[in-house]
């Protein structure tokens, strides 16, 4: 989220598309209701199903799963055509005026530079035309046909209302009404907030879905302002934190990337990361990357990381491929390339696509370790549970360790919420039986390995042996010690260059501004620097005071970066530093510095006259309508059909799907065709359950006891399916037998002239826990990931459905 949960109440229009906020985030959704009641906001919902969010919407429009880009590009076309953009914002704060290199083009569904073999692009033309000083050329009059705004206009010109309706199945009048409502926020004092979640990410074009709306928000001037922003409503309680700390194949704490094997030494690694400003007078935060990296390595390896060994750069693993994500991991498992797997609080047998493939993969492991408070399906994949988990235990040679962990109520620590707040929590009771904390278990494994390496030697033990581990109880480090390590310390006495103030060696740092690249500071996660200072644990702050009741609450817990609550908040004020919306200012220029209710996302004393643009994490300082080289499938979003789709891509039949999506050969073989699987299915969560956890909680099991699918009345009638009757839903990958909910909330859509039926598949049931046994939606879903993030395409695939009888246990 760029903004806070409470800030949603400042919106004039709330658009929920690519998500179902009321059901997935009810307590955050209260701020939408608040916006409606206190701010007269209109709530717009665009969703294949009439969801519980739609039930309180002012306007609802249906859409075929997987066609959001067509819809959103259509909206951009509408905004440009009807001149409903915030001109001054677009001109000053976006790259609309910058001129794109010659050679960049888009033809028949492909951008310049496509390589069919590797399914990747050579992105060299996807960039600005630079002048001799290395600055991007621009045309502020927007006359040059090569400037971004004109290229964009041309790109979206194909997305006429007729085309949008033809692709999405949304009736034209409904689509146009949504456009109108969105366009109403182009006024400088009006804002729209976009709330989305997995409904946009879980597509082969997931990242582009989100970019598409971000572009709309830039055109409307809704980024950085109160009640605006792009608000990704994250799923799990600390998934933001895990991402922040870099628990991803290619990540390091604080969004630094792990080196690839092309980056053979530290200097090469640094050269590609310290972005140089692309416009005169611009500031760019990533110029500080070296300080962040060195401080991190000092936290990690302490005295063993020295200038001489390049801060132990070589001790970091180097990647040969962009990502070893989960889809890749299971591909490797199935190919027999993996020996062991550790699942910490994660249940891939339920959570990842193509359940059969997951089960086969786990069966090929030598060992599997699960660490979880609950008895997960994954830990019992080898056990026969009838049709819901057929397994021949005797043939499965995997050793399985099921390790019991404590849960949230039984430990101290911090979690990062969707709005980037780090909130500390306290232990209320001991865990049950012999359950131990993840910290204790990981420390236990680490110490045993370290002992083995000390005794026996073995493959490259240096990083293991030199890892800093200076905790009071090495076998069970105190979370506060770890939090302080992430915050960072001075390793030597530091003298501030301007004020001359001295920070004594050993003191906790106040923020990442103090980090140095000479090895005199350490910080395990630079974006968390400032969260645990000499003043105490900032994450434990509980002052809910909210200036002007504008939804900031700056003294409640602590938000990264630097306790900033609204990202890009410099953009809430016009180029002279005056707030666009005088009624709801975030920060403004008082003549000498930036002041306001939030921490400025800008140099605090940099005058507006200096001409630096607000998006300081970008090297041109501008919001990008044109993404340059950062996206795998193109700098503008383009509609590609889901990998399994009922129709040909009406825009360019030859390029049906995302040309850059990574698809493994065996996964491609498991795609179904509309001939055998004529219906579009989409998976989702119900508000009564949280993933696969709450089926273990009796109350939630009572509230939604049994697996079912949702089907429209028309298709149900066609198929003779009765309300609450048994059905078999099948895809090329498997079948689910469950109950049917015949509903008015899903209506057939007319797509490319043909009626298209959507089937909804909630995903909560499995074979452990309190609720009734279920097959799990991932039995059906295809194993294919988004081109940028590898997020599986859970939201649009093909199935067939027929009436049947209750499943019989084998």
């Amino acid at each position: 989220m760029t903004n806070t949960w409470q800030d949603i109440k400042n919106a004039n229009v709330v658009i929920v598309m690519g998500g179902n906020a009321a059901e997935a985030h009810p307590c955050g959704f209260k701020w939408v209701i608040e916006a409606k009641i206190e701010n007269g906001a209109k709530l717009v919902v665009v969703d294949p199903r009439f969801t519980r969010t739609a039930s309180v919407a002012d306007y609802y429009a249906p859409i075929r799963p997987g066609t959001d880009i067509a819809f959103l590009n259509g909206v951009i076309r509408y905004l440009l055509e009807h001149d409903k953009i915030q001109h001054e914002y677009v001109r000053s704060y976006t790259n609309a005026s910058l001129i794109v290199k010659d050679g960049f083009d888009f033809q028949d569904g492909l951008f310049t530079g496509y390589n069919e073999e590797t399914r990747t692009y050579d992105k060299s033309t996807w960039d600005y035309d630079l002048d001799k000083d290395g600055f991007a050329r621009s045309d502020d009059t927007w006359q040059d046909p090569r400037c971004v705004i004109n290229l964009l206009k041309h790109h979206v010109s194909r997305y006429t209302p007729e085309m949008v309706s033809r692709i999405c199945g949304t009736p034209q009048d409904k689509y146009l009404h949504v456009c109108e409502l969105i366009a109403s926020t182009s006024a400088p004092d009006r804002a729209m907030t976009s709330l989305f979640a997995l409904g946009w990410t879980q597509h082969s074009v997931g990242a582009q879905n989100i970019r598409n709306m971000a572009m709309i928000q830039l055109l409307l001037g809704n980024i950085g302002v109160a009640g605006g922003g792009m608000n990704a409503l994250r799923g799990h309680s600390n998934i933001q934190g895990l991402t922040d700390v870099g628990l991803l194949s290619n990540q390091m704490p604080g969004y630094m990337n792990l080196p690839t094997d092309k980056e053979t030494d530290f200097d090469i690694y640094m050269s590609t990361r310290q972005f140089k400003p692309l416009r005169p007078g611009q500031i760019s935060y990533y110029q500080n990357t070296r300080k962040l990296f060195v401080s991190f390595m000092k936290a990690f390896y302490g005295d063993a990381a020295t200038q001489e060994n390049h801060w132990a750069f070589d001790w970091l693993p180097k990647l040969d491929i962009p990502l070893y994500d989960i889809i890749k991991a299971f591909e490797m498992m199935n190919a027999g390339q993996m020996t062991g797997y550790i699942c910490q609080g994660f249940n891939p047998l339920q959570a990842f696509p193509d359940r059969g493939k997951i089960r086969r993969g786990l069966s090929k492991l030598k060992f599997l370790v699960t660490m979880d408070p609950l008895d997960t399906e994954t830990s019992r994949f080898w056990q026969d549970f009838g049709p819901q988990n057929p397994a021949d235990s005797a043939k499965i040679q995997t050793e399985v360790f099921q390790l019991p962990t404590t849960c949230f109520a039984e430990e101290n620590g911090s979690l990062v919420n969707s709005a980037r707040w780090l909130q500390w929590h306290w232990k209320a009771a001991e865990g049950p039986g012999d359950a131990m904390s993840d910290i204790w278990i990981m420390s236990g494994i680490y110490h045993r390995l370290r002992e083995l390496y000390r005794k026996e030697g073995g493959a490259f033990p240096d990083p293991l042996l030199n890892l800093t581990w200076k905790y009071t109880d090495p076998l069970s480090p105190d979370p506060e010690e770890l939090a302080k390590e992430m915050n960072g310390r001075a390793l030597a006495d530091l003298t501030d260059a301007t004020s001359g103030a001295v920070t004594k060696a050993g003191t906790l740092l106040d923020g990442f501004g103090q980090l140095r690249d000479d090895g005199t500071t350490s910080s395990g996660c630079w974006i968390f620097s400032g969260s645990f200072t000499e003043k105490g644990n900032q994450m434990a702050r509980r002052d809910a005071t909210d200036p002007r009741e504008q939804g900031i609450a700056p003294n409640w817990a602590w938000a990264w970066p630097a306790n900033r609550r609204i990202l890009y908040n410099r953009a809430s004020a016009d180029p002279t530093g005056k707030p666009w919306n005088a009624a709801k200012p975030v920060i403004s220029w008082n003549g000498t510095k930036w002041v306001g209710i939030d921490v400025p996302d800008y140099t605090p004393t940099l005058a507006p006259s200096a001409g630096a643009s607000p998006f300081i994490m970008n090297d041109e300082g501008l919001g990008r309508l044109f993404a340059r080289k950062l996206m795998a499938e193109g700098p503008f979003p383009e509609h590609y059909e889901p990998l399994e789709s009922p129709v040909e891509n009406p825009l360019h039949p030859k390029v049906q799907n995302n040309p850059a999506a990574r698809v493994f050969a065996d996964d491609r073989a498991a795609f179904g065709s509309p001939k055998n699987f004529p219906y579009v299915a989409t998976t989702y969560r119900l508000t009564e359950h949280f993933h696969f956890w709450t089926k273990h909680a009796l109350i939630n099991a009572i509230l939604q006891p049994e697996e079912f699918i949702e089907i429209g009345e028309v298709l149900a009638k066609e198929k003779g399916i009765e309300q609450g009757g048994w059905v078999k839903v099948s895809s090329k990958r498997g079948e689910v037998i469950c109950k049917a909910y015949v509903t008015k909330r899903i209506k057939p859509l007319t797509v490319d002239g043909k009626p298209t039926h959507v089937i909804g598949v909630p995903l909560h049931w499995g074979f452990t826990g309190q609720a009734r046994k279920g097959y799990g939606a991932n039995t059906l879903t295809p194993s294919v990931g988004d081109a940028n993030t590898q997020t599986p395409e859970f939201k649009a695939f093909l199935v067939n459905i027929e009436k049947t009888t209750a499943p019989v246990a084998a």
Partner: protein, 197 residues
Amino acid sequence: MPMTRREFIKFTGLGLAASSLGVLGFGESGVAQAAAVRPFKLAHATETRNTCTYCSVACGIIIYSMGDRAKNALSNIIHIEGDPDHPVNRGTLCPKGSALLDIVHAPTRLKEPRYRAPGGTEFKTVSWDFALDRIARLMKDDRDKNFIAKNAKGDTVNRWTSVGMLAASASSSETSYLTWKVVRSLGMVVFDNQARV
């Protein structure tokens, strides 16, 4: 644990409600009343501030446990409800959060380490030492066998691809950080979390 009271914050209608809550109870006759209604079950329970373990709204919660943390009493969680001071949830909780008590006390909570041997049909309970010793041994054997110090070009890569890890999504950032340290010090790259699902 800091427990500053929040300032009075206006929230649609709730301000209204809060203002009149005083007169709602049973007023002066409350004492007599208490004999009739179900006794208030939290009168002396211990309060602990925590955060809901489910989604990323991260609602503040108060965990009520029996026992006052005296040495001879083992705390037992008896009730969980929303933290009214929390600026986002303001005391509210969704159907999952309202039922947190049932996940804490789920009958399927694991209580001891268990092990399933190759080809086995049942789990058997084992000691922590057995489990962790065996896991470390399996990991080391594989790492020693499959660790890639240099790639084909001869560049140092120091990666280990044959054992992977999926990290939790509800564990604390401190746990995550420690996990990152352990995993990366081994050179492990098949490493992911639940961000996508």
